[in-house]
Amino acid sequence: MTARDEMAREIRRHERTEATRRTLRRIGVFVVFLVILALAYTGYKAFGQSLDDAQTDWPMIGRVLPRTDDLTMPPVSDIISEFTQPPQRNSDKPLAAFIAEAALFTMREAVLGFAFGVIFGLGIAVVLLRSKWIEQGVTPYLVASQTVPLVAIAPIVIIWGSTSLDWLPFEWTNWMSVSLIAAYLTFFPVAMNGIRGLRSADPAAMELMRSYAATRRQTLVKLQLPASVPYLFAAFKIAATAAIVGAIVGEISGGVRGGLGRLILDFASRYTTGPSRLYATVIGAALLGLIAIGLVTAAEYLVLSKRKEEPLAL
């Protein structure tokens, strides 16, 4: 028995190093790919500019293909060097540090928003599961809810947060309202994929549960939720980036300072005076998204490998 345990541990260790190696390899491949993309970007720019210099007009450019001047497509070298340069003359903190701090701030909002959204989305999926009638009645409005732009929602949430939540044991701050806004974007994919996943349980297995006179709750916990795991992880991946985007946009709508949203707005509104700052910040936001999806994928890997299923390599 102990020898067996010993061996199992050994194997797990091996699997872990394998997984690490694979992850590193993937990161390596992606970095190489990014370098290629950067070269393509530079090449395209050079091509476009040579056309410009030659005074020839290429109808695609500016229509299907982007324009190539330095203001619209800042050189890659500018973008990279921007990271190391302080965005403020009176401090020598490089832009990368600004972005990192802001990313942490946004991440906090996004994590909370993701949690709210997942709980809410799953809750909706479970309620909708109760009857086809409820589902048919409610789903169109869930869809409609997602077409309401934040400009209409943000003021409601922010004002409600700062006027109606004073009974909470802690102080409700605006960044928490931003999390609610993020949750508004997160719950939808979770609810949609959730209901699909909950319904994906094998009909034979549903019958088995019925034959045990299992309660709705037991069927949910023991059968439908496990069956929906692949769907849910797909949803979590969509929701993870949605939470970040929601947090960033919520910061901008609601005027919350400290996160990537403010940084992006600042740089965007001063685009002509330094386009590469915006590009650099956007890269920071994308990186944050990669990290978030990485975390979800790690969780998926843990859950599915325990279930002996093949996780989707994402």
Binding site: A204, A205, S211, Y212, A213, K222, P226, R307, K308, E309
Partner: protein, 262 residues
């Protein structure tokens, strides 16, 4: 313990039509009446697609009759289901792929609120019974077809319901294992006086196990004959007895006759 006259299953004038009114309408069962006394071992036998599984699912209240009534233990079939009066082994094993073999066997016990230690003990006992004690930690996809079926049998027996509904449980088993499982099942039946409704394609198996063999006609399923078997206590010798072969022939002929009808 049991009053032999009470009716465990009472089916009266039941019909079942699938996709009623649509072009792909199927009359699966037509006007079946059948009552099964408590403690009886009954086999259902009949050609493929004649409605055996459907009949079992009607008793289990997993589907409802288009016409007619089904009663179990003097209540409606639905109530019996809610009271967990029966255990069912399905034709396809229906194991949960995310649960190990032992966890699959524990599933009904868990739903019924057994303690963890009790569950573990019973699951181990059941896996022993079906000779899969080494495989408790494996996952279903690592098992052979017959092994999966045995897990499903262990699961159906684990919580010892008073009525057992079994749909071709031994179909994928080799002869030896099959005989072993038959003996075990008879043993359980003898000891506990359960009512067992058993679907099989094997005539000898039906004759060997049952007190009654119900022969069904091809779709739409009707009851063609209801053959009482009285072979006394079963043993290894029963299979060699001439009374056994007579009954096997009787059932076979009933089946042949039915299938050759239009």
């Amino acid at each position: 313990m049991t009053e032999p006259d009470r009716c465990a299953v009472a089916i009266s004038n039941v019909s079942k039509v699938f996709n009623q009114g649509k072009p792909n309408e199927v009359h699966a069962i037509e006007d079946i009446s059948l009552s099964i006394g408590e403690g009886t071992f009954v086999s259902l036998i009949g050609p493929s697609g004649c409605g055996k599984s459907t009949l079992l699912r009607l008793i289990a209240a997993l589907t409802h009759p288009t016409r007619g009534d089904v009663g179990v233990n003097d209540k409606s079939a639905d109530q019996a289901r809610l009271d967990r009066d029966y255990g069912m082994a399905f034709q396809t094993s229906g194991l949960f792929k995310w649960r190990s073999v032992a966890e699959n066997v524990e599933l009904p016990l868990q739903l019924m609120g057994w303690s963890k230690t009790d569950r573990k003990a019973r699951a181990a006992e059941m896996l022993d019974l079906v000779k899969l004690d080494e495989f408790g930690d494996h996952y279903p996809h690592e098992l052979s077809g017959g092994m999966r079926q045995r897990v499903a049998i262990a699961r159906a027996l684990s919580f010892r319901p008073s009525l057992l509904l079994m749909d071709e449980p031994f179909g994928a088993l080799d002869e030896m294992t099959r005989e072993h499982m038959q003996t075990e099942l008879l043993d359980i039946w003898n000891k506990t006086g359960k009512t067992i409704v058993f679907v099989t394609h094997s005539i000898p198996e039906a004759v060997f196990l049952s007190q009654r063999v119900i022969v069904m006609s091809p779709r739409p399923g009707r009851i063609a004959s209801d053959i009482r078997i009285d072979l006394g206590e079963r043993s290894f010798e029963t299979r060699e007895a001439s009374a056994f072969f007579e009954k096997v022939t009787e059932v076979r002929e009933a089946l042949r006759f039915e299938e050759s009808q239009p």
